[in-house]
Amino acid sequence: VTHVAALILIFAELSFLAIGGASTTLPAMERAIVHQQHWMSAAEFVRLFALAQAAPGPNMLVVTLFGWHVAGAAGAAAATLAFLLPACVLAYGMGHLWVRFRDRRWRRVVQAGLVPVTGGLMLAAGYLLVRGAATDWRAAALAAMVLAGSLATKRHPLWFLGAAALAGLAGFY
C-alpha cells in the first residue's frame, strides 16, 4: 500500500509538470524510481521503456509498466490514473477557455518560452536512456546507429525498433 501511495504522489505531480508531452518527465521519473526509491536499476528502467515503445499506443504507457513493476496490477492502475487524471481534468476545463486566450500575446510568449525547455528536457531524457541502455560498447554503438539512421532517413520508428531488437537477438551481444 505504501508503494501504491508513493506511485500516486510521484506520478500525480509529474502529470502537471509534463510540459510538451509525457516524455519530458522521463528524467524526473528516472530520478524518483531509480535513484530515490531504488525500485529498479537504470538498465531495468530503460528495458520497461523499450517494451512500452514496442506496443501500440501513446508513449505515456511506460508509466503503466513502472507501476506494474513496482506493485503489480494495483500499481499499474494507480500510476496510470495518477499520471492521466490531473492533466485530463485541467484539459477538460481549459478546452472551453482556449478560444478566449488563443490570440493573446501572453499565450504566444508562454508557448515560445516552453519550446526550448521541452527541447532540453527531451535531450536529458535521451541522454539518460542511452546511458542506461548502453550496457556495453556494442549496445552504445547500436543506439548511435539508430540515432544517426533516424535523423538521416524518414523510416518509421517501428522499423528501427525491429532492426535493433533483431540485431540484439542475432548474437550481436
Binding site: P27, A50, Q53, G120, M122, A134, T135, A143, V146
Partner: protein
C-alpha cells in the same frame, strides 16, 4: 479542392459516445511509435470530423497544456462533441487496447526474460528505443540553433535534469519563468 473552398459547418458537430470510442480505439490500436499521426488520419482524413486547420488548432492547445498530448486531445475533442461522456469514451477508447497489450508484453517479459535470446532481444530493443528518443530530442532542438536565447535555456534544462540530476519541480520553477521572461522580451509587437 483548395482549403478555403471547404464548406463552413452550419452547426457544431455532435457525435455519440460509441462513435468516439470506436474512432479512438482504432487510432490507439494502430498507433505504433506514436499515436498522433494515426489520430489525425482517423479524425481528419477518414471521418472528416475536423478540417486540417481545426485539428492543428486543437493540437496547439494540447501541446500548450501539461500531460500526454494525445490524452488531452481525446478529452477536449470528446467534451466538445459529446460532453463529459465523450471525453471518457475517447480516452478509454484510446488507451484501453494499448494498456492491455503492454501488460501482456510485460507479463511475457517477466516470465521469459531470463532466457538468453529474450534478454538479448530486449537489450537490442532498449538501445534502439533510447536512440530514437535522442533523435526526437535532436529534431526538437535543431530549429532552435539560430536563437542564442533558446539555446541557453535548452542547455540549462539539459544540464539541470540530465547532467546534474537536480530535482524536477525546483528546476522548472527557476528555468520556466526565466525562459518565458526572455521570450516576452524578444517577442515584441
Amino acid at each position: 479542392m483548395p482549403p478555403h473552398a471547404e464548406p463552413i459547418r452550419a452547426e457544431p458537430l455532435r457525435l455519440g459516445a460509441s462513435a468516439l470510442f470506436l474512432a479512438f480505439f482504432q487510432a490507439g490500436l494502430m498507433g505504433f511509435g506514436g499515436t498522433l499521426p494515426m489520430i489525425r488520419r482517423v479524425m481528419v482524413e477518414e471521418r472528416r470530423w475536423q478540417t486540417p486547420a481545426e485539428f492543428n488548432e486543437l493540437l496547439a492547445l494540447c501541446q500548450f497544456l501539461p500531460g500526454a498530448n494525445v490524452a488531452n486531445l481525446a478529452v477536449i475533442f470528446g467534451s466538445r462533441v459529446c460532453g463529459i461522456r465523450g471525453s471518457a469514451a475517447a480516452l478509454i477508447g484510446l488507451l484501453g487496447a494499448p494498456i492491455a497489450i503492454v501488460l501482456v508484453i510485460v507479463s511475457l517479459y517477466d516470465r521469459y526474460g531470463g532466457y538468453a535470446p529474450v534478454r538479448h532481444l530486449v537489450t537490442g530493443l532498449s538501445a534502439g528505443a533510447a536512440g530514437l528518443i535522442l533523435a526526437t530530442a535532436v529534431k526538437i532542438a535543431t530549429p532552435l540553433r539560430t536563437s542564442p536565447r533558446a539555446l541557453a535555456i535548452l542547455a540549462a534544462s539539459f544540464a539541470a535534469l540530465g547532467l546534474f540530476r537536480l530535482p524536477f519541480l525546483p528546476s522548472l520553477a527557476v528555468i520556466l519563468p526565466a525562459s518565458i521572461a526572455l521570450a516576452g522580451w524578444s517577442i515584441r509587437e
